[in-house]
């Protein structure tokens, strides 16, 4: 497959601060590439390097041309802190930016794409933060670009609006548009990106598909059993062949499959050990992020980020964690599991 975006040994320094430290990267034509990383990691600088809006050392090309040499009709950009003129309507803004190109998409079509048909004649400054960001995404689409650079496109957008925009981007990707997006939302890149790159301190420390990164860096799935008698619970589970670790108020079983949850519950019942809840988590991209960046989540209840992973799953798409409560006779009391397996097992 052809390479749409290539960066080779890209370096950028602001005074003493190294923003990019030898980044090598390639994005295939039609691929969705997600760039994640902590604040200050260099994500925005890399987007600027790839779009030619900052000068860097190293080689950058977009469809074989320099970013400043390529036909501007072929690329679209949504800068991170972009704000268009505040007293133009959404329609006027799309018209305005469309007018800068020889050929632009139909304004009504753009507004419909980003879900702003009903607010098209409102001034930008009177729109909500999420609507404003949708206008900005619409502006980035006016020239129907081959390569679209989106720097934190869904920042400030509510969950419904975010999912709506994800659908828009998925539609563009299906149509063959190459998308390079940065985000702090793991759910976003996990859902949208074919490959993900993790940038830290100006260096690309990991690149791969979300599944590959999770397999390589995410650790295994875990079942956390909240109980007052953790040692008895651990013994009962060990007797059934589970590798259980007793902690003060919980027992943790690492590497457990959802289909084995029922066996674990049966082992506890057979040993007459009560429990408050069972929480099964599988590693997510956020675990990868935390693992590779060394960042921690204040308030995490257990080492290894199980609480973080559970929250991530809830935020993301409720696909990666399930919690069941004994008191509720096996019905879920908090997050919805992926496919009901956790409840099934608990029952």
């Amino acid at each position: 497959m052809n390479e749409a975006v290539v960066a080779a040994d890209v370096r950028k320094q602001y005074g003493e601060t190294v923003a990019l430290d030898g980044v090598d990267l390639s994005v295939a034509d039609g691929e969705v590439f997600g760039l994640i990383g902590p604040n200050g990691a260099g994500k925005t600088t890399l987007v600027r390097a790839l779009t030619g809006t900052t000068a860097v050392d190293g080689e950058v090309s977009v469809h074989g041309e320099t970013p400043t040499g390529i036909d501007a009709d072929r690329i679209g950009l949504l800068p991170q802190s972009f704000a268009p003129p505040a007293r133009l309507t959404a329609r006027e803004l799309v018209d305005y930016y469309g007018g800068l190109y020889d050929s632009a998409r139909d304004t009504d079509d753009i507004l419909a794409t980003v879900g702003l048909e009903n607010d098209a004649d409102s001034w930008y400054e009177t729109l909500s933060g999420g609507q404003q960001r949708r206008v900005c995404v619409g502006i980035a689409l006016v020239n129907n670009p081959d390569v679209l650079f989106l720097d934190e496109p869904t920042t400030g957008i509510d969950p419904a609006g975010r999912r709506s925009l994800w659908s828009v981007l998925e539609g563009l990707a299906e149509g063959g548009t190459t998308i390079f997006l940065t985000s702090h939302s793991m759910a976003e890149v996990e859902r949208l990106a074919d490959r993900v790159g993790l940038l830290q301190d100006g260096r690309l420390v990991a690149v791969g598909s979300p599944a590959e990164l999770i397999d390589s860096h995410g650790g295994g799935s875990r079942l956390v059993i909240e109980t007052d008698d953790s040692s008895a619970a651990a013994d009962a589970l060990a007797a059934e062949g589970f590798e259980a670790t007793a902690e003060p108020t919980t027992v943790v079983i690492a590497g457990v499959s959802p289909v084995d949850i029922g066996d674990a519950v049966a082992a506890l019942s057979a040993a007459d050990v009560g429990y408050e809840s069972l929480t099964w988590t599988e590693p997510s991209l956020e675990d990868v992020y935390l693992q590779l960046t060394g960042e921690t989540f204040e308030g995490a209840a257990t080492p290894g980020g199980s609480v973080v992973a559970e929250q991530t799953a809830g935020d993301a798409s409720a696909t990666q964690a399930g919690t069941v409560s004994q008191d509720s006779a096996g019905s879920q009391d908090s997050t919805a599991p992926q496919d009901g397996t956790a409840q099934e097992g608990a029952r």
Binding site: G52, P79, F82, P85, A86, G99
Partner: protein, 250 residues
């Protein structure tokens, strides 16, 4: 055609943005009107009294026009550049086909329209309130190229200020600091014989001087001067420098 389309799109956007900032519209027109009312109608000219405003009323037409020709482009273009930079608009525009010169042309056209309207208002007020006599001759049409040239010049100057100042406040402060001395020391409100002899050559260094002398020649029926040529050359120089100064990258 493509270039015209881009400039039109940018100019229409800028025009609508300006018209919808009511305070900006109000003060753009109110400031020169205030000056005409204060100095032309209240202070009044005193041809035999000496000192300031001792010349015939028509003498001060270039000064009144200079208030919009000078202040408006300096502050508007300068602060527009600061606003664009703050909101990452140049970063966005850098990935579109719109060039720096095209951006400046578009915003200069908007300024020409605004300042043209304000100038007509000022001329009418000066005639109505101060009794200035402006001969209606074909030469009066030269007011248009003088105004256009001066606006182009000061739009370029404003772009340079916008590049050099890091904030909108900085642009306003810088433009005021530059514009006030120019307004009074460019053969506009203060005649050359009221200045120290050693200062007179410095007046020739002000671009506004050529606007003032040219407009005065046109509005008072004095002999033609090379002012328009000088102003046009300066306009080209400042416009090119201003276009070059517009940021494209960080």
């Amino acid at each position: 055609m493509s270039r015209a389309r881009r400039i039109r799109a940018e100019a229409v956007g800028a025009w609508h943005s300006f018209l919808r900032r009511r305070t900006a519209v109000f003060f753009t027109f109110f400031f020169p009107v205030l000056l005409v009312v204060i100095f032309g109608a209240l202070v009044r000219t005193q041809p035999t009294g000496g000192g300031l405003f001792a010349e015939p009323a028509a003498y001060y037409v270039p000064g009144y026009l200079a208030t919009v020709v000078l202040f408006t482009p300096l502050s508007r273009v300068g602060s527009e550049i600061a606003r664009h930079r703050d909101d990452s608009r140049f970063e966005k525009l850098a990935t579109t086909p719109l060039g720096r010169a095209e951006w400046l042309i578009a915003h200069t056209l908007v300024n020409i329209a605004i300042i043209g309207l304000a100038s007509l208002l000022i001329l009418g007020l000066v005639v109505a309130l101060t009794g200035a006599v402006i001969p209606l001759t074909p030469r009066l049409a030269l007011l248009a190229p003088f105004t256009v040239a001066a606006v182009v010049l000061f739009c370029g100057f404003g772009a340079i200020l916008g590049r050099l100042s890091s904030t909108q406040d900085g642009v306003i402060a810088a433009s005021n600091t530059i514009a006030f001395p120019l307004l009074f020391l460019s053969d506009t409100f203060v005649t050359l014989d009221q200045l120290p002899p050693w200062f007179a050559p410095l007046v020739d260094l002000s671009p506004l001087t050529y606007f003032a002398r040219g407009v005065r020649a046109v509005t008072t029926g004095e002999p033609a001067t090379p002012a328009l040529g000088v102003l046009a050359v300066l306009a080209v120089i400042f416009f090119v420098a201003g276009a070059y100064a517009i940021p494209r990258t960080d």
